[in-house]
Structures are given as C-alpha cells and as structure tokens.
C-alpha cells in the first residue's frame, strides 16, 4: 500500500492547522462579523462626528442700537471671524470647547432704529440677542432665555478691548503701547518634565486602550472557552486528542484567537485613525502610533496569559450552558483589574504598584509610559513579570484542559481537573 503521508507532523504545522480552523470559523461567525461592523461604525461615528460638529461655524444675528453697541458688535463679529482662521493654533475640537481662544462664529449685525421694539425682536427669535447703548461703559445685552455662548464671549471680549483702547487713547498712548496693552506678551513657559501633548489628552488615549484590551480579552477569552466546550460537547475532541498532544491543540486555539483579537483591534483602531485623518486630525495618527508600542507588547502578553486560563475554564464545562458558571472567575479576573486600572489612572504610588501586578500591568504600565511617568527600564521589568505569570498560567490552563477535556459527562471543578491530569503519558 503506497503512503503519501510519511512525514511526521511538526508542532508548528499542527498549531497552525488548529489556529487556522479557529480563524476560519470565526470569520464565518455572524455574531463576530456583526460585532466587528458595529465597533467599526461606533469608532467612525466617534471620530467623524465631533470633527464635523467642530467644523460647523454657528451663525447668529445680533440686533444693535446705539453707536457704542455698533462698534462693539462689529469688533465681536471680526473676532468671531478671525477665530475661524485655520491657521489658528488652537485645534477646532478644543476651540469648540472655548479652551485657549475665542469661539468661532459668524455674527451678522442688524441695525435697529431707536424706539424699535427690541424685546419683540428677541422674543420672536429674529435675532439671537440685542446689544444696546451709546456708551461703551454701560452696554446692555438683551437675550431671551439665554444668550448664545459665542455671542456672549465675543461681545464681552470686544467690549473690553474697545474700553481698553479708549482708556489708552485718553491716556495718550501710542499705537504700539495700545497693542501691548490689548494683547499683552504672555510669560514664556519652560517645562522641566514636559508631558507629551497631542490632539487628544493622553488620559483619554489610555482609557481607550484599556477599554479595548478589556473588551478583547472578554470577547475572545469567552470565544476560546466556547470553542473548547463545543469540541467537548460535540465529542470531536476525542478524535483530536488522539491525533495531537493537548498542548498543541491549546496553543493552536490561543494563537488563532490572539490573531483574531489583534486583527479586530487593528481593523477597528485603524478605521478610527483613518477616519480621523480624513477629517483633518492627522496628528492623532502619529500620536497613537507613538504610544502604541508598549500597548501592543502588553496586550499580547496579557492576552496570552489569560487565554490559557479561559481555555481551562471552558474545558471544565461539559455543555455550552455550563460556561457561565465555569467562566465566572475569569470574568472577575478581567473586570476587576479593568476598574482598578481606571481608578488608578492618576499617577501615584497605587498606580506604580498596580503597574507591576500581572493583571493590571497590561493596562497600567503602558499607560504610565504614555503619561510619561515611568522610567525607561520599568516597562521591561513589568513585561518580564507578566511573561513569567503567562508561562505559569499556560501550564495551569493546559493542565486543567488536559485533565477535563475528555470528561464529557458533567461539569468539573478545577480541583478535580487538576487531579485528573493523566490523559497522556
């Protein structure tokens, strides 16, 4: 009988074949596709909508009565127009919040004859506000329920500028002196320990990464557990175990799901970044890429560390219905560190300590790097700690898996699985 399969199967080939099936099945899983599409939409919306909003300049009509009012509102309109200049160093997203500059707005001036019913104009909504007064020192702004934020800020700024200019003129100052008064030179800023700044606050970036890690470990951890229990429930596992050492099977599952988890994150984050740069936030791309180095390292280590435990938890169940109870411990192991990391987001001894604990390290150590309060050697040490824990957990998960994977009749407790590990010589 001729045989064409004489070559022994190498571990790497076997692991790849198993991982390939995991990926293949996942790619055809409607729930997985659905959740990825949903995340994509969410990210696109989150990046594009604020940008679109910030690019929309609000328009307001302002009624004016009196000379001083006319001067001030004209200046206010000019300031609002200048704030729309793209050369403005304040990013639009922040300009929207009014941080660091005047709000952009298109103010149109409506001249109103003396004696006209201003209150009616405002009440009817013909104008957003009315400014009255012949003396710049005693201007009055009339609004309905409120005065639009942009109008309020711009008119205040214009009024103070006009008053300063008037006072300076009365004091006989030169044009240069007036300029130095109205736009004084700010003190030069020198930071000893400058934190990297970007177009989003680093804390937000850290939170986003932490959330992605948390979500990924939870979804794909569950997916590993599910894949294990499905093979157990359908009994196909006995065929597999007869052909492959259990640890190869486990390695293949973890590899396949890691690839999918990383792939999903790359796609989702990539879509967000592309969306952001298309919307004119190109700087965000560089900022995220610079920060992502350690995040990726810790993501992989942390994911693999927990993945084997998930597989063990899955193997303890004998039916998919048991999964909820056998994976409870794992869910706690993911959720608690996540919240611990969020509460320890501010630098301090707690954060420092937690950034070395294997469960919170994948969240907090890269965060400390991005926030700039970690020494260069610290992430290496923490990575080593996580790696060591990962190796330990791989062994633990593999043993639980081996001990329980052929026990198809009922749910096992971890201790039983630990003791039952005698499947293979």
């Amino acid at each position: 009988m001729s045989r064409d399969v004489a070559d022994p199967l190498s571990p790497w080939t076997a692991v790849r074949v198993v991982a390939g099936r995991e990926i293949f099945v996942k790619l055809r899983d409607k729930a997985f596709i659905g959740s990825t599409v949903f995340m994509l939409l969410l990210v696109t919306a989150a990046t594009v909508i604020p940008v679109l909003l910030s690019q929309q300049t609000p328009e307001h009509r302002v009624a004016v009565q009196g000379d001083a009012a006319a001067d001030v509102v004209a200046l206010a309109a000019q300031l609002g127009h200048e704030a729309q200049d793209p050369e403005n160093e304040v990013p639009p997203a922040l300009a929207l919040l009014g941080a660091g500059g005047l709000p952009a707005a298109d103010l149109s001036v409506v001249d109103v004859e003396p004696g006209a019913d201003l209150e009616r104009l405002v009440r009817d909504g013909d104008v957003a506000a009315a400014v009255t007064g012949d003396d710049v020192g005693s201007l009055q702004v009339l609004g309905g329920e409120s005065v639009p934020y942009e109008v309020d800020v711009l008119v205040r700024a214009a009024a103070s500028q006009v008053q300063v200019e008037q006072a300076a003129e009365e004091a006989g100052l030169t044009a240069q002196e007036v300029a130095s008064l109205t736009s004084p030179e700010p003190p030069a800023l020198r930071l000893l320990d400058e934190r990297p700044e970007g177009s989003v606050p680093p804390e937000l970036l850290v939170l986003a990464f932490a959330f992605l890690f948390y979500l990924s470990v939870l979804t794909f951890g569950m997916s590993i557990a599910q894949s294990v229990v499905e093979e157990k429930q359908s009994r196909v596992v006995e065929l597999l175990v007869a052909a492959l050492p259990v640890r190869w099977l486990l390695a293949g599952k973890v590899l396949g799901n890691t690839v999918m988890a990383v792939g999903q994150i790359v796609v989702v984050v990539g879509a967000g970044l592309i969306g952001a740069s298309l919307a004119g936030e190109g700087e965000l791309l560089g900022q995220v890429l610079r920060a992502s180095g350690w995040f990726v390292v810790f993501f992989l280590l942390g994911f693999v560390m927990l993945a084997c435990l998930w597989a063990g938890a899955g193997a303890l169940a004998s039916r998919v219905e048991d999964l909820q109870s056998t994976t409870v411990f794992m869910q706690v192991l993911v959720v608690v560190p996540f919240f611990a990391a969020i509460f320890a987001i501010d630098p301090g001894p707690t954060q420092r300590a937690l950034s070395y604990i294997p469960f919170t390290a994948p969240l907090l150590m890269p965060a400390r790097v991005v926030l700039g309060n970690a020494q260069p050697w610290e992430p290496w040490l923490a990575a080593a700690v996580v790696l060591a824990t990962a190796l330990l957990f791989v062994a633990l998960g593999a043993r639980l898996y081996r001990g329980s994977v052929l026990h198809t009749s009922s749910r096992l407790r971890a201790v039983q699985a630990w003791r039952a590990d005698r499947t293979r010589a």
């Binding site: 006995e238 052909a243 050492p245 198809t408 005698r422």
Partner: protein, 315 residues
C-alpha cells in the same frame, strides 16, 4: 506492510479501582478483530489506551514490534464510542481539517476527502453543514473521519451501534475493504451475532481481563469437543418412545446413552440429544451405543456460538 498491533500486560486503574488487568492480545493485519465484553468490561478504556488518549499505568502497546509514538498513533483511524464532529462545519471543511490534524498536507487532505465523500455517496452534500444531515449520513461522515488519512490501523468503538441492517452491511463492507488492504481492524460491539458474522479474530474481555482471544473459529472449537450432539432415528423396537415422553427425564435413546461411562446428558431436544463427555470418555463407545439403538443421523461435536461462549465465560 505494517505489522500487527500487540498489547502486552496493560494495566490501568481509575481511582484505585482496576479497570484493566494485564490485558494482552494481538490485532493482525488483514483481519478484523472483534472486541467483545459487557458494559464496563474495559473495551473503551483499552481502545483509548491504544490511541494514546488515555495513558496506561503499566504495560506496552506496540505496532510491528515497536513501541507506539505519537507520529505512529497519528496515523491510526479512530471512531470513538461517543460520536461527534463539528456540527456547524461543512463536511468537506471538517474532513480536510481532520485529515490535516492527522498529518496530511492540504492538497492530499482535499483529494482524500473528495474521494471518500464520493465513495460514501455524500459528494453532493459536501458543502452542507454536518448538522443538516440525517443521523445515518452523519454516521457515514464519522466513518470518513476515521478513514480520511488512510490509517495504518483502525480502532472502532461500537461502529455498528445505532445502524439499520443495511447500514450495518455497508459498514461491515467498508471495514472488510480496509482489512483486505492489509490494515489491522479492531472493533468492539455487544451485538454478538453480528461480531460472529463479521470478525476473523475475537477478543473477549471480562471485568478488565482478557478471558479468550484468537481466531474466532478456534476460540469456538476450543470450547467444543466436550459436547456431542447425537441424532438417532429409532429402530422399530424403540418406535414411538421418544417424542411422547414428558419433558425433563431422559428418555429413549438418551437414557441409554447416559449409561456410557463418562457421558452425562446435557440437554435433549426431540430426537437430538446433547451429551457432555467427561475427561477421558470415549466418544467411539458413545457412537457404538447410539448405533445399537437405531440409525445415527448426526454425530458431531457441538460448536458453541459466540453468544454461548460469552455467557459461559462471563458467568
């Protein structure tokens, strides 16, 4: 080309309770070996040890005189007692996957899968999910899963259970074809009549111990010989005596045969008399005595059926 499968003194216990005690037997190439035992006798445990799914506490399993390695075991074909494949994968995908897990490269796995599905009459369902197939067809896919990698040994745990008579014949034909190709085939069953019909060799296991093994007819013959079946057509002087006697008491010819030294009556069924010969009893004397009472129509050692042997040894 590959050698025979040999188990030597295999022991295994679960939680201190012995499941297998010094189990040893041989599965020869080109022959179908039936593995028979009551529930819990140790059939599945033995098979799992052969496959390496379970480890033996002691003892050896060899193929062609060499201890099994993972690379050899991977080329075994196995049908576990608890059937199962991936319900949500297509036939072709899961057979290719299982072929690759058993060491085939991707093109070979695809080619073998296509061939097998063709042979099993499932080619048109290749792209269907397993769970959409009828149970009978799922069973056929299970066979394909055991055969896809062209195994050097087949181990099948209860391959006939749950099959209708036609499917049983088809399954038997598949296994026979593999055996004829030189593959040792070991299968378990508790359908003894079926085993008797299908197998060449037999292994009987009882409470973890092998109580009989070897070629099926030899095993049966060894347990024959001590019993003779004698049918005598009565002479005129005995006419009418036999059928009308009440049951239980030896009658007619039987009562005479019982007088031969070392012969005791085992059972009587009409004219047929089955007697048990003690050690050293002379069957020729028995024949001579029978001939004195009429025409001997039958005089032969009783070869017990497998079911009879089984009941005897496990009692």
């Amino acid at each position: 080309m590959q050698g025979e499968l040999t188990l030597i003194d295999v022991n295994r216990s679960f939680g201190g309770r012995p499941a297998l005690v010094d189990v040893g037997f041989t599965v020869r190439p080109g022959r179908m070996t039936g593995f028979v035992g009551a529930n819990g006798a140790g059939k599945t445990t033995t098979m799992r040890i052969v496959l390496g799914v379970l480890a033996a506490d002691s003892g050896r399993v060899e193929l062609g005189g060499r201890e099994l390695t993972l690379d050899v075991r991977r080329r075994f074909g196995y049908m576990p007692e608890e059937r199962g494949l991936y319900p949500k994968m297509t036939l072709v995908d899961q057979l290719v996957y299982l072929g690759r897990v058993h060491g085939l490269d991707a093109p070979t796995a695809r080619r073998r899968t296509a061939e097998l599905l063709e042979q099993l009459g499932l080619a048109d369902r290749a792209r269907d999910l397993l769970q959409t197939l009828s149970l009978g067809n799922q069973q056929r896919v299970q066979v394909a899963a055991a055969l896809v990698h062209d195994p050097v040994l087949l181990v099948l745990d209860e391959p006939f259970s749950g099959l209708d008579p036609l499917a049983v014949d088809a399954m038997a034909a598949h296994l026979r074809a593999r055996a004829d190709a030189g593959v040792p085939v070991l299968f378990s069953s508790h359908q003894l009549e079926l085993v008797e019909r299908v197998c060449d060799d037999i292994v009987i296991i009882h409470r973890g111990r092998v109580v009989a093994s070897g070629p099926a007819d030899q095993v049966r013959a060894e347990r024959a010989g001590r019993r003779m079946r004698v049918v005598v057509e009565p002479g005129t002087d005995d006419a009418g005596v036999l059928p009308s006697e009440p049951e239980g008491a030896p009658t007619g010819v039987a009562s005479f045969l019982e007088q031969v030294p070392g012969v005791s009556l085992h059972r009587q069924d009409g004219r047929a008399v089955v007697v048990e010969l003690a050690e050293g009893a002379d069957d020729q004397a028995l024949l001579a005595e029978a001939q004195r009472h009429g025409r001997v129509r039958e005089f032969a050692p009783v070869v017990p059926t497998l079911a009879e042997i089984f009941r005897e040894v496990v009692r």
